[in-house]
Subunit: 245 residues, 2 copies
DNA sequence: TCAATGTTTCTCACATTTCGGGAATGAGCT
DNA sequence: AGCTCATTCCCGAAATGTGAGAAACATTGA
């Protein structure tokens, strides 16, 4: 292990379940000597990637919040999409949650959300949380538009997606330009998601609305599907005009 | 340049003003050959610290959003403070903005904010934005509680804070346990900030309420000052109980 | 089709840096 | 003082990054 890897290996130790580490535990877990870990930790602290929690314990540092702000201010998908996201949620006119999510390696990550007034639930797609690519409308709207080679690779690796039925379902999603699913990730909610495509490489995302099954009838879902698709088109326009700067 | 520095130097190039870079520009700016920059960029992309924007341009990657979530979920100050922050804003009962900010190197950084319904303004203390330590109630509440040695160093380096009057003002803030200022950062708003202190090292923060000058009279400011101080106490309690796990 | 251009990766010899084991320092506690 | 634990320091050996240029690859235009 060398270079960036050593630093990343340390950072990746920190999780929701274990958010503080001692140098000893890190060294043991990574299988490298303490002196090396101390050096690594010192470097990371110097750049605020880590900070001291208390008595020999370390935790993630605030530099991530700083870079997160930079992303919020400059990410084209966010700048083009966050207003649209709010508009679509408002236009839905029901207690729902709106999500703007993107492909992130072999997962889907929410980068912005909007909650309509009155919504008493929340989605598992929290901002910054990697989610599986093969479940949920939000994810499948993205998966359906992966290039064939990559699509196959992802599907092969996922036990719950290897069926032929799944492939044909996703083909239909691709054709329709919208994906609707019910209770796949969170019970009792319906997800309606439209893909966001763009010429520029690496932009593959979705705009989705999540609402309680109890209030969702066919007409409402159809209306919301149209709204998300229209929103997705608007975001695509915003992306292509901003990239032309 | 070696080790982490090389990587950080690249990441620090990205700013609000220039959010996309070509390898050429990076190499020129950093004064290192292109081949080296290519290697560095490739490594950073592999870990999602950078991503390709378009045609030979690179931008910050989404890994920061992922780590930002981890921080939101695990940072003791945030977990102890975000509920209190909302409570204090609600208790204020006026269109105001609440801020939870912390010391970050020689700056102050907002880590959480809450806007009361009806507030038509926003604070310059955006989440993740480093702010000067010597201006604004939010910052001065923190500065006033820096250890003497560090306090002096910061004050010396800041042209607008070198006066004796400033030192005595901050002494008074320290005594009072609250800092109130008007229009120092944003015109036409009043800031009311209470320091958050804790035994654990590195925890130095403030809880503040920002409200328009037009609605702020002495009685209201006094009431809000008491509320922020009470909130700060509650957060301190939350911190000490959680660290005892 | 071929040349031209720009981006990205690769190669290789060399110097620099990191690595890791252990010793040294330092702070806190009894 | 003496003990324990956290952290830094030291140094030779070994691995890694460095940088200049060439090569691969993609795109564009003639």
């Amino acid at each position: 292990m060398a270079g960036l890897d050593r630093y990343i290996a340390v950072l990746r130790l920190f999780s929701q379940g274990q958010s503080e580490w001692t140098v000893n535990d890190m060294a043991e877990r990574l299988g490298v000597p303490q002196s090396t870990v101390y050096r690594t930790v010192r470097d990371l602290m110097g750049e605020n990637f880590l900070e001291m929690a208390s008595e020999a314990r370390y935790r993630l540092g605030s530099v991530f919040i700083e870079f997160d702000r930079l992303l919020r201010l400059t990410d084209p998908l966010l700048t083009a999409g966050s207003q649209v996201l709010q508009d679509v949620v408002a236009a839905a006119g029901v207690p729902c949650v709106g999500l703007l999510c993107r492909l992130y390696n072999d997962t889907v990550m929410c980068i912005a959300d909007a909650t309509a007034p009155g919504a008493t639930f929340s989605s598992s797609y929290e901002r910054g949380r990697p989610m599986p690519l093969t479940m949920g409308a939000t994810s499948k709207a993205i998966l359906a538009h992966l290039p064939a080679r990559r699509f196959s690779r992802v599907v092969e690796q996922s036990p719950d997606a290897r069926s032929q039925a799944f492939r044909t379902e996703l083909m239909a999603v691709r054709k329709a330009g919208v994906c609707i699913s019910s209770g796949e990730i969170d019970a009792d909610v319906v997800g309606v998601a439209a893909p966001i495509l763009s010429k520029s490489p690496g932009v593959l995302a979705s705009l989705s609305i999540v609402l309680p099954q109890t209030i969702a009838d066919d007409a409402m879902v159809a209306r919301i599907a149209a709204a998300t698709m229209a929103g997705a088109r608007r975001i695509e326009e915003g992306l292509s005009s901003s990239s032309g700067l």
